[in-house]
């Protein structure tokens, strides 16, 4: 009699759905998605285009505040009306924006300084990106310095704490949070409008 009771209990236990294979199925799917996933982040040089002008003249910029970079169809550079090469560009841009009115030909203050890049129709895109990159890197190096010291080159305190680099500071920002470094030391890079041909 106890044997019969035993048997009936065994029957009931075997009636359950076996869930052991469930994990295997899930693992298989998991491995599939693991393999096909690409967590690649888009990287690039960010720019903001000027808004469309409705017949009004662009605001005038004083000649000394303007740092002109011209790139011709061969990819040669003309910086402030003199031929130059890309290697010197970063230092010259830095000298221009951190001039604070010292040299009479360079900018009055970082807020007034404008870097203008003008290209020809046949300018290679690669050269344009290299030039743009050097200009941004000039600003990036200044921002790095602000992040490390917490102060702008003028001596204004902008950050409560210091960071290893500008990137390290930027990664701590929330999407809506204001970027204090960029706010304190604005980058003004202008992509000159192409000639319309007349």
């Amino acid at each position: 009699m106890p044997g019969l009771l035993e048997k009936r209990r065994d029957d009931r236990e075997e009636g359950e759905i076996p869930t052991a294979g469930m994990a295997d199925i899930a693992f298989l799917l998991l491995i599939f998605f693991l393999l096909v996933t690409t967590i690649n982040v888009d990287t690039g040089i960010g720019m903001t285009l000027p808004p469309k002008l409705e017949d009004q003249e662009p605001p005038p910029v004083k000649e000394r505040n303007l740092f002109n970079i011209l790139v011709n169809s061969q990819g040669d550079l003309l910086v402030e009306d003199e031929p130059a090469n890309i290697g010197q560009l970063r230092q010259r841009v830095k000298a221009h924006v951190t001039n604070f009115g010292e040299e009479p030909d360079l900018s009055v203050s970082p807020d007034d300084a404008v870097i203008s890049i003008k290209t020809d129709a046949q300018t290679p895109y690669d050269t344009y990106i290299q030039v743009l990159d050097e200009v941004w890197m000039a600003y990036r190096e200044i921002w790095d310095q602000i992040a490390r010291t917490g102060q702008t080159p003028q001596g204004d305190q902008v950050l409560d704490q210091t960071y290893d680099s500008y990137e390290a500071y930027r990664s701590t920002l929330e999407p809506q949070e204001e970027n204090l470094i960029r706010e304190a030391f604005k980058a003004q890079i202008s992509i000159a409008e192409p000639d319309t041909g007349d």
Binding site: L30, F33, T37, D42, T43, I129, M137, P194
Partner: protein, 152 residues
């Protein structure tokens, strides 16, 4: 007597850890990867070998990005001609870009136009696209580039 036996039985089944929640854990991981997976990249009909740069920014918010590919056509009778591709379609009439981008901007005001331009391109086409973007009011752009490996 019967209760004693019952107790012995339960203590017999106790050892051996439960794997019942294992599928739950795995499913959770699975769902994460399913959501973050982009199964198919767009069918890109133009060659875009991106330039290399140092001053890069990352765009974390992927959904804001709208890609514009500019480069030589990969196949077809006009192979090698510079063409523009937005989403899946090649743009024949460059004047149409403003309408396309304007519509996209209505759906996503914080749109970032990611310009994926081949290194061999000339500035003429880039300028033209930029003028179209200005017409559309899509002012946030990003010159897509890869990280430069500094020569060590």
């Amino acid at each position: 007597m019967a209760s004693q036996r019952f107790e012995r039985r339960t203590s017999d089944t106790e050892p051996g850890f439960t794997t019942a929640s294992l599928p739950d854990i795995v499913f959770m991981l699975l769902i994460f990867f399913m959501v973050s997976t982009v199964l198919r990249e767009q069918d890109i009909k133009v060659r875009t070998q991106l330039p290399e740069a140092e001053a890069l920014t990352k765009i974390e918010q992927k959904r804001l990005i709208s890609k514009i590919h500019i480069g030589p056509l990969k196949k077809g009778e006009n192979e090698g001609d510079t063409a523009i591709q937005i989403d899946d379609a090649l743009i024949d009439n460059r004047r149409a870009i403003r309408q396309i981008m304007y519509n996209k901007l209505q759906n996503e005001p914080r749109l970032i136009a990611s310009l994926k331009v081949d290194v061999g391109s000339e500035m003429e086409v880039v300028n033209e696209v930029q003028q179209e973007l200005r017409e559309a009011g899509a002012l946030r752009i990003n010159y897509s580039s890869n990280r430069e490996n500094p020569p060590n």
